[in-house]
């Protein structure tokens, strides 16, 4: 089983598009001081929300290609026809995807926090909230991708399908950081993020593999 994860990781290591979501993330965040105001006080207020929304959009962007190439070259079919449970293989795939795209986003977030004049202890909470939230975004986003992978205008439809499902994590994640900024308790929010992550990780792979099965049946 671990061998499968390794195999999937190899596929991703050789992809040149790894940097794209990260660059997108940085660019989007940088747009806000330009669009609104470079005043540190303003940036401190909008900072957490901006970083969270930008992270969300970057994850969405990186997902577009998640299953597409596998779908086109037939790897998905072979995965579904394997005697190993589809859910497990899918989990490995999403994990690999997250390592390659989600993790860099999380790691670069402190840097962006500095750009927006956030204090250090707030950046810590931001980091944790993203650490809990981004995997959820990847998993739930993967559900959307799996449902739309065979379609032509997959991108636009994907956003429509997935954004409503992102709302809770956005609310809790962003608010955790904002509360930290106001010196208020943020543990409840982090707890919610963890709970959502657990639910997504346990149920997600099954849903994704069902969705992939459906997508394969109308090629």
């Amino acid at each position: 089983m671990a061998m499968l994860i390794r195999d999937l990781r190899i596929a991703f290591r050789q992809r040149a598009e790894i940097m794209l979501p990260v660059i997108f993330f940085v660019v989007v965040v940088s747009l806000f001081p330009l669009a609104i105001s470079p005043d540190p006080a303003v940036l401190k207020t909008i900072g957490p929300g901006v970083i969270w929304v930008a992270a969300l959009l970057s994850v969405l962007m990186s997902l577009q290609n998640l299953f597409r190439s596998d779908f086109d070259d037939g790897a998905i079919e072979q995965i579904l026809l394997s005697p190993y449970p589809g859910a497990l293989l899918v989990l490995a795939r999403v994990l690999a995807q997250w390592c390659v795209t989600g993790l860099p986003l999380i790691l670069i977030s402190p840097l962006l926090g500095l750009l927006l004049h956030l204090d250090f202890h707030i950046i810590k909470v931001l980091f944790v909230s993203l650490l809990l939230g981004v995997p959820y975004l990847s998993m739930v986003g993967a559900i959307g991708v799996a449902l739309t992978v065979g379609l032509r205008q997959a991108g636009a439809l994907l956003s429509l399908l997935v954004l409503p499902l992102y709302v809770p994590v956005l609310i809790f994640g962003s608010n955790a950081v904002v509360s930290a900024a106001k010196d208020m308790s943020y543990n409840g929010q982090l707890l919610w993020l963890s709970a959502l992550l657990v639910i997504a990780t346990t149920l997600g792979p099954f849903v994704i593999s069902s969705a992939l099965k459906v997508s394969c049946s109308y090629r």
Binding site: I10, Q14, D72, D73, S82, Y84
Partner: protein
Amino acid sequence: MNRPVSSGNAELLAENLSYEINDKLILTDLSLAVRSGEILFIEGGNGSGKTTLLRILCGLMQADEGRISWNGESIQSALLDCYQQLTYIGHATGVKSDLTTIENIRFFSAISGLPASSDIQSALEWVGLSGYENSPGRHLSYGQQRRIALSRLMINSSLLWILDEPFAGLDKKMIEKLQDRFVEHADDGGLLILTSHQSIDLNKMNSIRIHLGN
């Protein structure tokens, strides 16, 4: 109720399959059976539903009506057991362009759930890709990629083979080698279902034919 599977008495049975897509009837009340040592050859022109039938037999698509059973059990209820014994090679090769030949083969081997009955080198030799171990998929032609997929038939030999146009993109020598392998497989008690829209010389093989289409 599961008959013990030795390579002697396996059976794939399809009963009353119907499939339509948006009012276009593709399969109507089709039944077929393949047993150990038998080769089922499905022929028909383009668009006659050969690929659809194969995909339904694999479980990748669901028929509107009808039942498919493997060794007496409906495949829906014993999916993973059935897949243990299945190798399906369709139009899409499953070869990833970012991985090298050897990595692709290892991947197929890993997810097949079967022990390797042959080593990778001799399989590569068999399909005529000996020098290409470290070539990434994108440097290979479609025919070469198909041969990588076909190498699975050498390496992890499962009982049931379902192949969609296996001879496409191959040269005469490879086609002969493949036919020999098919006969070998049937002699060992394996089952084979294949399609082609060309008529292939099947005199060497003991085969049943089904013709699809109008």
